[in-house]
Symmetry: C2
Subunit: 209 residues, 2 copies
């Protein structure tokens, strides 16, 4: 397809697609003449990935590049792609650096999880645990266990539903899933709180409006 069709199908302007080409985020098309190139579904998939990371994930183009590089460098190794995606997505926490994530490591030890001890997600967890404790709401072992069990169910489903047809698609899917499904989980938690209150307030089980 031509660049105009590619842009339209990706929901982007031609100028933006050309910008991604210049920046090397999108691989060049197949040259058909001095002024025309041909693009295929791989280009479309790449553009959708960039857009999701930038618009939904709120990543800077530099972070988008990190994620794309991670996927491109060894797309067969999904576990590494996941780790690298988490690093790029959690860059804010990684750069916060400095202090050791003591609370998070204690929590992970309690859960018996053997994750990469220096990953951005560990620092993200540590920052969150520290923030809660600092306002007088430390995370109890019981809460940690409930949250971890729920997170594990979600993660297991995430990984079991990853398509296996192509390594490239697999890595892209994992990265996208991390970014795209997080807000769904958060929205559902808030709605579940409403649902619990709603159902407890109406013991006879009547439906609301």
């Amino acid at each position: 397809m031509r660049i105009s069709e590619l842009a339209e199908r990706a929901g982007l302007s031609v100028a933006t697609v050309k910008y991604y080409l210049r920046e090397g985020l999108l691989m060049p098309g197949l040259s058909r003449s001095a002024t025309q190139s041909d693009y295929d579904d791989a280009h479309l998939a790449r553009l959708r990935l960039i857009r999701a990371l930038a618009e939904v994930g709120g990543l800077s183009l530099a972070s988008v590049r990190d994620v794309l590089t991670a996927i491109g460098s060894d797309p067969q190794d999904v576990a590494t792609a996941v780790g690298t995606a988490h690093e790029a997505l959690g860059a804010a926490h990684r750069s916060a650096g400095g202090a050791e994530p003591v609370q998070a490591r204690a929590a992970l030890a309690e859960l018996g999880w053997t994750v990469w001890p220096d990953s951005a997600a560990v620092r993200q967890l540590d920052a969150a645990l520290t923030a809660a404790a600092s306002v007088g709401l430390p995370t109890t072992p019981q809460r940690l266990r409930v949250y971890a069990d729920a997170a594990m169910q979600v993660a297991t489903s995430d990984i079991d539903t990853v398509p296996r047809d192509s390594a490239d698609a697999t890595a892209a899917y994992v990265v996208l899933g991390t970014v795209l499904y997080e807000p769904i989980l958060l929205a559902l938690r808030r709605l579940a709180q409403q649902q619990v209150y709603s159902s407890r307030a109406q013991p006879d089980g009547r439906q609301q409006g």
Copy 2:
């Protein structure tokens, strides 16, 4: 206690505490002289709540005010406090307005949840479902169910662990819990993904460095 001790215990500067007093976010202390007031634990709790909402939740002072007003107006009604907190926290989604949250309502119907159909969390869910679908990763009914079940476990635990000793504390706790425990859940989901890959890659169950 004096304002200096209050500020120190809240981890804020005296200037910031005075600013919150002027803005009406913090209720006045008990006047002891023309230049001195006395503050108690209720003031400290209020300051910690403001700080958590602003710093961890990333809320504007206007949104913080909305949440505090909701808590203050009828602190006995926790369900209403939860709903109002969600509205204030999801203000970005509420103001996006316009289109009906069709996808979210379909999802909620499928789950059988009877939540407030116009709440900010419904729009938040709709925006997330739409974003995922727009990049070719629609949320399947299976995924929706897994995420909803996990969210329900978390929400049930959230609500069961709410302290009942004072209505004021209860509402503050619910609001804080919404803000503070979300990043913990997200970090745990990422770490759980790492844990699943790690445990599957090592079927003999050896521990990693």
